[in-house]
Amino acid sequence: MAEDLNWAVGGEAGDGIDSTGKIFAQALSRAGRHVFTSKDFASRIRGGYTAYKIRTSVDNIQSVVDRLDILVALTQRTIDENLDELHEGSAIIYDGERSWEADIPEEMSGVDVPLKSLAEDAGGAIMRNIVALGAACEITGFDVEYLDEALEKRFGGKGSKIVENNKEAARLGQEYVEENYDLDLDSDLETTDNDYVLLNGNEAIGMGAIAAGCRFYAGYPITPATSIMEYLTGRIEEYGGHVVQAEDELSAINMALGGARAGARAMTATSGAGIDLMTETFGLVATSETPLVITDVQRSGPSTGMPTKQEQGDLNMTLYGGHGEIPRFVVTPTSIDECFWKTIEAFNLAEKYQTPVFLVSDLAMSVTEQTFEPDTFDMDAVEIDRGKLVDEDEVEEWLDSQGRFRAHANTEDGVSPRAIPGMTDGAHMSTGLEHNELGRRTEEQDVRVQQVDKRNRKVETAKEQEEWDYREFGDEDADNLIISWGSNEGALVEALDYLEDDGVDVRVISVPYIFPRPDLSDEIAAAEETIVVECNATGQFADVIEHDVLERVKRINKYTGVRFKADELAEEITEKLSQEVPA
């Protein structure tokens, strides 16, 4: 198991907690260490507890654990909120000069650093968090030079004076601890020569979209999807694209659809209430056979729910949402790097099969940062498949006897030729009404059946032509099978280590496609016990699996608003395995 250090900074929203954490995470990444971050935040801008947590190791890590070794506490609440995770030997950095009196549990080391006054010495009270970072470096034996690099990256744009002041603040914090404390945390933060990049799931989706040739994005701000739009704004233009902040989600999805019909690769992204508002247009996308990627970064519902908390509660919505019957794909990246690759795949599927593709992520993945080898995102490996886009030489083949383009031609594979505006002889109309091959409205029974079958057939074609595989971890021959989707994968992979220590053998299957999805019946039949793990209360994916295999499965559901942790999950799995399967 990875020798890891767990660090956190916490305070009130508005205290600069996020940037403090990010700077330290970047310093660790620069030092060639793996980093995995997580955030606790409330849905408010100022006030309210917020924390940024970092787990770091020289080995790869992809989840959080229930342990905190060093805590930078800017408020008492930070200590109280994290009491469960603090342990004997944890160090708590705080500022004894501030008005609150830190209540440090006896068995822990309180490291009282005059953060504010040292920051003032360096040039301004605002840098007190940087003083704390310097102090943290000293406690962990981490070379402040890496911190300097991260400060340069962060403040370089603001001029050398600001950079120097911040470096000085870090130095003062470090020296203060060096002179006043003699701590032995035996957490010697080793460094390596590895170069890592550090990014979160939404950044990976945005980067994947650009790599895949997405040029038009329309969206309406909603947590936690907004940062995809923020990432694309200012970057997509470099590639000839554009982002529009629409007036609402109804507009956003319709604009994206317009862009896609005009031939651009287009996307919209939203969450919760936004996906509800978009529902009417799902059917239009499918029936007009427009290639569109609709990203849903799930958060806790229903209604406005808990906007800044984790949940995987929209599976049913993306799988079944919309009136009538809608051919679609539901793609569910299981890790941050997969957010990148699955986004690219989503665009290819959308164009190859001309139907909506739901790219379903979740809050935990969207805000979590993780280190990767840059090659993980090898741009040379990106392939773009635009499907049956016809050019001027091919269009003739698809004209009827009167020279009209058969945009909804009833083909064997269900996919029709696609002509984009501007192309001679390709002019055609499409409609949300049932229509014939020419796109003209009809209610003739045989044409209706033909077109419904044709649209559904593309899903059948895709089932045959694409690989709907799964990711697998643990012992392939184990009696116990764990199935999961979305961001739970990381915690499960790590839970394997804990389980192994306890002598529990499990096989983990992590599913990146919910529709179509891999057939797991053999795997489930071979297992003695199957548990489906997901962040919702009712077990939406477990229902799907039970429906597929006609057999009851066990379920582990978490809907507290907080993602699974590796150690917690290992315990729950062990416990579940000893219980009866519900009748």
Binding site: E203, R215, S251, M255, G258, E280, Q402, A427, M429
Partner: protein
């Protein structure tokens, strides 16, 4: 693509016979649209028509071009998306008063203020036609319908005022049966650099016996004949738009300094053209995260 000279307006006709009631104003509205498109040098292959839902929304079916007939009220966002991706394409949106000023009212305000270079034709019959005669947002407050037996008892929306208040750069009104004027006005909307909005009086002969051809013929005042009206003058525009006593046709307002969205935001590329793989310098996107 055909050149301007050999495009005839009939090229924009589809083979589909309209199912509108005989005498519906939408026939005239559509003819004017087709003629205006041909007259402004467009052809079906470089034109995209987005239609709403309603009798009026069927217009896309009876025309021939690239077209999408979407869901109720959302024609403008779709048209906006098309134009963003393809600044080279002529984009026209069309629909009814219910479609545009009721379910789609929010989009109307924002499409107007975005000033995307396209035209928007609303067939205003002051009734819901397709759903068989309920009150629309432009129905008179005492107009009795199946859902408002005593009239809506609310003042009608004034779409021209709504447009003006939202920062419109082109506001016009026409009458479907005044063929030449109607075509001329639509043509001006197409040629306008920005969002060309035209509210068309397009009578419903089946459900509206108040806002009839005769009514409009008798009451319409043509701004073209009013030498005092300066379409570039905001105050003049306000005066005719807020005049509650008269019905006008013509161009009420045109902002001489209109800068369409594309120019303001530098959106000029054909977004349908993408490489076979990731862009050449895409690794830079990764390096940003070092």
């Amino acid at each position: 693509m055909s050149s301007q000279s050999d495009v005839r307006f009939t090229d924009f006709k589809s083979d589909k016979q309209p199912t509108w009631c005989p005498g519906c104003g939408d026939f005239g509205t559509m003819n004017g649209m087709m003629k205006a498109l041909a007259e402004t040098g467009n052809d079906p292959d470089n034109t995209f028509v987005v239609a709403g839902i309603g009798c009026s929304g069927k217009i896309g079916t009876y025309m021939h071009s690239y077209a999408l007939h979407g869901v109720h009220g959302r024609a403008l966002p779709v048209a906006t998306g098309v134009k963003m991706a393809r600044p080279d394409i002529e984009v026209m949106a069309a629909g009814g008063d219910g479609d545009g000023y009721s379910i789609g009212a929010g989009h109307f305000v924002h499409a107007v203020r975005r000033n995307v270079d396209m035209s928007y034709v609303v067939m205003d019959n002051r009734i819901y036609g397709l759903t068989k005669g309920q009150a629309s947002p432009t129905s008179r407050s005492d107009f009795e319908t199946s859902t408002t037996p005593e009239g809506p008892q609310q003042p009608p929306v004034n779409p021209l005022a709504l447009a003006l208040a939202s920062g419109a750069t082109f506001i016009a009104q026409s009458f479907a049966s005044d063929a030449l004027r109607h075509q001329e006005i639509i043509q001006e909307a197409i040629e306008h650099d920005g969002f060309g909005f035209v509210n068309v009086f397009s009578p419903c002969v089946t459900f509206n016996d108040v806002d009839t051809y005769d009514y409009f013929r008798d009451s319409l005042v043509d701004l073209k004949e009013d030498e005092d009206h300066d379409r570039h003058d905001y105050e003049d525009a306000k005066e005719v738009i807020l005049d509650g006593d008269k019905e006008f046709q013509g161009v009420m307002y045109q902002d001489e300094n209109s800068v369409p969205y594309h120019e303001q935001h530098g959106v000029t590329e054909d977004m349908s053209d993408i490489p076979d793989g990731a862009p050449e310098d895409a690794m830079d996107l990764v390096r940003e995260f070092y």
